[in-house]
């Protein structure tokens, strides 16, 4: 028990290295540390608790299988969320849910002008903060899975754009422009009150 408590002081990368060196408790601590984060991310991405539990299990099985190949010089959080994102993409594909929105346009900047320059009173402005929290989850589920995952990673998990670029294996600028477009879509949804 005390051993586990001491291990909780180690960084993720140190724990991953210790597990590779044969310490089973290191993996246990890592799973305890990341279970709420991964489950929360999956749950918000799919909005189905029993399915989120199954997917979380699947993600941690992949983590266990791959942890010996993990490079401790890279961020563990980025690595685990890469696995989580890929697992979710596979899930959406199996469910035949398009991961990228079909109405997505490439000229993200002109969209910003169109949307933000609008003078219409927004539903957002009328929303009280507490109501927004409740409704945000519902609106997030209306976005395409890719946009939803991006917003959840950036705003929910506080993962930087650079880290998301590593997770998605995309250029940094692409991630930033996709984030901007995702926000626009979210805002449009909220404005329309769909």
């Amino acid at each position: 028990m005390q051993y586990i408590q001491i291990m909780e002081l180690f960084t993720d990368e140190q724990l991953a290295r210790q597990y590779a060196d044969g310490s089973d408790q290191a993996l246990e601590v890592l799973i305890q540390r990341y279970l709420p984060l991964v489950y929360g991310f999956v749950m918000r991405a799919i909005g189905d608790a029993p399915q989120a539990e199954d997917l979380t299990q699947e993600i941690f099985l992949k983590v266990w299988r791959g942890i010996k190949k993990y490079d401790p010089d890279k961020s563990f959080k980025t690595w685990i969320f890469t696995i989580a994102r890929r697992t979710l993409i596979d899930y959406f594909r199996k469910k035949k849910i398009a991961t990228v929105s079909v109405v997505e346009s490439d000229d993200g900047n002109s969209d910003i002008f169109e949307t933000i320059a609008s003078d219409e009173p927004t539903a957002l402005e009328r929303l009280e903060k507490q109501e927004l929290e409740k409704e945000l989850e519902e609106y997030l589920l209306k976005l395409s899975p890719e946009d939803r995952m991006l917003l959840l990673l950036y705003h929910g998990e506080r993962i930087t754009f650079a880290e998301i670029a590593a997770i998605n294996q995309e250029p940094l600028d692409t991630v930033k422009s996709r984030h901007r477009r995702a926000l626009i879509k979210l805002r449009k949804l909220m404005q329309n009150g769909q």
Binding site: G22, E28, P36, G40, Q57, I116, L124, E133, L136
Partner: protein, 161 residues
Amino acid sequence: MVNDKLHHFLFLYVYINMNNEMDKDAFERKIESAFDSMIAVQPHERLFSDVMLAIYRKQVLYFRLKLAAAISMVAAFGMSAILWGKAALLEFAGSETWMLVKMLFSDYKAVISNWQVYSTYLVESLPVASAIWLMLGAFVALLAFKILIQELAHRPRRLTH
């Protein structure tokens, strides 16, 4: 005149952009604040033990597969080594090598005086092919045995605390 229009247009463009940036930031701030205030989705208490159990089951499955493979290899190559060993012994008993070895005891003075010729004949008469097969079988069997011992030492145990 043209310059004035251009200046006016540029002013409007910068002004609209500035407002857009402010508006965009306000929306992002709202979203940030909403995300911050969102109640964290907590997994069910049993999810941790479910995850650990799933990993343990996989560990046990892989352990059994590796164990079965190692036992099969020890058995197969051990048997091969024994059979090749027997064949090598029979070959050795009927070979020139055995006669040369017997000569060492019966006529050692002659062997000592012609030790260089004797050594050459002895080396040439050795059943090399059988010896190689015997050593190969024994080597692989020992290697598989080592893996078996390592696997047994690191057999999976259930993690809970």
